[in-house]
């Protein structure tokens, strides 16, 4: 049995210690917002936060996440500035990579509340979007940053 704290809820799961956290989140916990894209930490679709840090859950054995604070896209409040900005700027197209993009962006803004385009490109370049929503992702991170500075939640 492995005990996981996901979005503030404790789950006890009977799963092998080496199983990737991604599949435990998706299949055992039924939280399907976290996506599978590559299985090799190359695309970022599976990004979650572990103790606040953006982490590729497809390359994280579940045992390494035990006892830590895990946050998935479902655990980011609906009124979070990043989610609000994403909706306002109409970022998603097919939408598949967006939970990962949002998780990465939330972590970025926590580290660097006022990133420049280069900072954004640097951090977000691990997250692929085949629809090419990158220009809107940049724009949206800037608007979320502004929202946060104006007193929105982070």
């Amino acid at each position: 049995m492995i005990s996981l704290d996901v979005n503030g809820k404790t789950y006890n799961i009977d799963v092998g210690p080496e199983a990737p956290l991604l599949w435990v989140i998706r299949e055992h916990l039924g939280l399907s917002g976290t996506k599978f894209g590559c299985g090799m930490a190359l695309c970022g679709a599976c990004t979650v936060h572990i103790d606040g840090k953006a982490t590729r859950s497809c390359q994280t054995p579940v045992k390494d996440a035990a006892g830590k604070k895990i946050t998935t896209i479902e655990g980011i409040p609906d009124d979070h500035p990043v989610k609000k900005a994403w909706i306002e700027d109409e970022v998603p197209q097919c939408g598949y990579c967006q939970p990962g993009q949002i998780m990465e962006a939330v972590a970025l803004l926590k580290e660097n509340p006022n990133p420049g385009d280069d900072d954004i490109d640097n951090v977000m370049s691990g997250n692929l979007c085949r629809c090419g929503t990158y220009q809107r992702i940049r724009r949206s991170i800037h608007s979320a940053s502004k929202m946060m500075a104006e007193g929105g939640k982070s």
């Binding site: 092998g16 199983a19 990737p20 599949w23 998706r26 299949e27 055992h28 039924g30 939280l31 399907s32 917002g33 976290t34 996506k35 599978f36 894209g37 590559c38 299985g39 090799m40 190359l42 695309c43 679709a45 998935t72 896209i73 479902e74 609906d78 989610k83 994403w86 909706i87 109409e90 970022v91 998603p92 197209q93 097919c94 939408g95 598949y96 990579c97 967006q98 939970p99 949002i102 954004i120 490109d121 640097n122 977000m124 370049s125 691990g126 997250n127 692929l128 979007c129 085949r130 629809c131 090419g132 929503t133 990158y134 220009q135 809107r136 992702i137 940049r138």
Partner: protein, 721 residues
């Protein structure tokens, strides 16, 4: 608020709720008989259902893969219906002839056809419902329907200031005759069409609630992955399932026509089982197949005359007499679609029927193919279209490859099963954009005007062997192989475009913009070479040759103006221009590039002008141009599929590279106002970007890029031009 309902109409009626947590999580009930239609619901046609709560459900028969149809098509309905936009919900259509493509005669999404092919159908559907609602209200009030009007979800009688919301009129409207000839709105009366309406699917996608095929769960579902032959055209000789079956969670290992499926309680167990599965393959004739050899075969073929696709004047004669002759050879590789959501399908097969959940662009073909495998009648198979985590053509497989394979697994396991592809399966799974080799020659007169143009195209036919062959292969020419090449718009008196379609067991398929994905690159870079040979500016040269295509000329002028063509750029930067027509729309782009110290092409900015005729949602158009440019840049700068000893050399995103945010240029989109018939928008943004970039690279370096992706070695190569 959730507006995306990933269930069929029958499921919808069964569960009776538009928004429900279980549905949002993608947990679906197993098959049960659906109850009858709710009496008070007004459903005048296959596309519209209005409930007593005033909620207007638009049934959308096109797959949402990012291009925005779950918003743009309801916009068309809602405008004619005079609906209150906030009451619009959408539901994916079940498979039914009522939802067939108005041109193809089957249900499907592709070819950038969704807007124009449903334009009349959906406007009429909305208008008919509006007329019936007005009649219902007029009857209640005892007034002439012509004295009433519909507005924002209400029928209004201006004289008496009476009004009734649509929700209160459903029962009566449902008893009205469906009118055949309905008045349609004049474009100047549109309230929704033409506006940047917010997408209905955005909130769910941002909250992580959107349900893709991969997210679907049904009770007692197993998960399978399939081991396939590493060489195209190979066959399974033998396998041993001993080790695979010893993996915890693996339930069974079954042979299917495409290979061996490992079926388990969950994905990870299935994958671990497949890792230790032992297979022996007869690799077949392609076991020694190699891209270099194929390339030299193509180059040799390109020197021989092919089947003529367009012949005007006598290009051969003019070329043989020419004083100034320019020729070049171009090549582009196989490409994978690489949708972010790997392929998958969930199938619940029972003796008396079957449910399929998958993100597909080809509902009728997939349903019928699955029915054949499962020994069912097509109408016994219910296919539920989920959201697609990208399509780009891959999910419109003419042979239903991923659905047929899943049906074989379902047949063998006799339990609901999700068949999943890993990224490696996807990259190596075939159905690629074909590799193309083009040989082209032209000559100019003393004034620098082109006299002749000869273009030989070499590449596999996508259409041969599919149900579309009769429609799209004319006298030995696959139209999709030469689209964008045979219809070059420039004033040239002698033109010959011919085609070789060599056959290989490597499977090929339409890939966002299909033939245009290579012909625009060839035509629009070679025209630049001619401009250079003529000593003319590439923009002015094109402009001088477009006397027969004023729409294209006007767009070219627009993009040049918006991009400040000819204005001074920072040192080391250069501009390139290209214009191309595809899928009924024109797109012109100017790319600004520089070369980094590491010898990498940096695209700083792309100014894009589009004339797609009448528009529905300008923000969608802008988004699709940004998207097409990113997609085209991946092909121009990064991606290729190659073969070595019969095997695909690439496997995942480290070696099949796609554009990332740090390479994304600033994209500026300008929409040409137009009242012409709508063209497509999902694909036309792709073709012009590779030539615009290649031409810009020439402007910076003086080197011609004649193969994609552009390689550092090609940039370094000394070349006299």
């Amino acid at each position: 608020m959730s507006v995306i309902i990933n269930i069929s109409r029958r499921d919808f009626l069964k569960t009776g709720a538009l928004i429900g947590g279980g549905l949002i999580l993608g947990v679906f009930p197993r098959y049960e008989e659906a109850p009858g239609e709710e009496a008070a619901t007004f459903a005048p046609n296959a596309f519209i259902r209005i409930g007593t709560d005033g909620i207007v459900t638009v049934v959308v028969n096109k797959s949402e893969m990012g291009q925005g149809v779950y918003t743009s098509l309801p916009m068309v309905v809602a405008d004619e219906l005079e609906a209150d936009w906030s009451t619009i919900r959408i539901e994916p259509a079940p498979v039914d002839p009522a939802y067939n493509h108005t041109v193809w005669g089957i249900q499907g999404t592709g070819g950038s056809t969704s807007t124009w092919s449903t334009w009349d159908q959906l406007r009429k559907a909305g208008a008919a419902a509006r007329v019936m609602l007005i009649q219902a209200a007029a009857e209640i009030w005892g007034v002439d329907p012509l004295s009433c009007k519909a507005e924002n979800g209400f029928v209004i009688h201006p004289e008496t200031k009476k009004q009734l919301p649509y929700g209160k009129l459903t029962e009566k409207a449902a008893r009205m005759c469906v009118p055949q000839d309905v008045p349609l709105k004049k474009p100047e009366k549109y309230k929704i069409i033409g506006k940047p309406v917010k997408r209905l699917d955005t909130p769910d996608k941002v909250m992580g609630k959107a349900v893709f095929g991969i997210d679907v769960k049904v009770p007692d579902m197993l998960t399978a992955v399939v081991e396939r032959c590493p060489v195209f055209g190979g066959k399974l000789k033998s396998f041993s399932d001993k080790k695979a079956k010893a993996v915890a969670g693996v339930r069974s290992v079954v042979q299917i026509p495409t290979g061996v499926a490992v079926v388990a309680d969950n994905f990870w167990s299935a994958k671990l089982g497949r890792d230790v599965l032992e297979t022996v393959w007869d690799e077949g004739p392609l076991s020694g197949f190699d891209t270099k050899k194929q390339r030299s075969d193509y180059a040799a073929l390109a020197k021989r005359p092919g089947t003529a696709a367009r012949k005007e004047g006598d290009a051969e004669d003019a070329l043989s007499k020419a004083k100034k002759r320019i020729s070049a050879e171009y090549e582009v590789p196989y490409l994978a679609h690489a949708t972010m959501e790997p392929l998958n399908a969930v199938i619940d097969f029972r003796e008396d029927g079957c449910d399929i959940w998958t993100g597909t662009q080809f509902q009728t073909v997939d349903r019928n193919s699955a029915a054949e495998v499962l020994g069912l009648k097509p109408e016994q198979v219910r296919l539920h279209t989920t959201l697609l985590g990208g399509g780009f053509g891959r999910r419109a497989n003419p042979h239903s490859d991923f659905v047929t394979e899943a049906a074989h697994v379902a047949k063998a396991v006799k339990k609901p099963v999700k068949v999943m592809w890993t990224r490696e399966d996807d990259i190596r799974g075939g159905y690629y954009r074909p590799m193309w080799y083009d040989r082209i020659a032209a000559c100019l007169d003393g004034n620098g005007k082109p006299i002749a143009w000869r273009h030989t195209v070499v590449g596999q036919s996508i259409i041969a062997g599919t149900a579309f062959e009769k429609m799209l292969v004319q006298e030995g020419v696959d139209e999709t192989s030469v689209e964008g090449a045979k219809d070059i718009p420039y004033d040239i008196p002698n033109i010959l475009v011919d085609l070789h379609s060599p056959k290989y067991p490597i499977t090929v398929q339409w890939w966002r913009s299909v033939g245009h994905s290579h012909t625009a690159f060839v035509v629009e870079t070679f025209i630049d070479e001619l401009a250079q040979a003529a000593g003319k500016d590439p923009y002015e040269f094109r402009r001088s040759l477009l006397s027969k295509d004023p729409r294209r000329k006007a767009l070219l002028e627009l993009v040049a103006q918006k991009a400040g063509w000819g204005s001074v750029l920072p040192a080391g930067h250069g501009r390139g221009i290209a214009v191309h027509k595809s899928f009924g729309s024109y797109v012109a782009q100017v790319a600004e590039v520089s070369i980094s110290r590491e010898g990498e092409v940096r695209v700083h900015k792309v100014v894009c002008a589009v004339d797609c005729g009448r528009i529905v949602n300008p923000d969608t158009i802008e988004a699709q141009m940004e998207s097409g440019i990113a997609f085209g840049l991946s092909a121009a700068l990064f991606s290729e599929i190659t073969f070595n000893k019969g095997r695909v050399a690439q496997s995942n995103f480290h070696d099949y590279q796609l554009m990332r945010i740090n390479h994304m240029p600033v994209v500026e989109v300008h929409i040409m106002p137009s009242e012409e018939k709508s063209g497509g928008i999902g694909e036309p943004g792709v073709p012009p970007v590779a030539p615009a970039v290649a031409n810009a690279v020439f402007a910076v370096t003086g080197k011609r890029m004649r193969r994609l992706p552009i390689r550092a070695e090609d940039l370094k190569r000394a070349e006299a031009v």
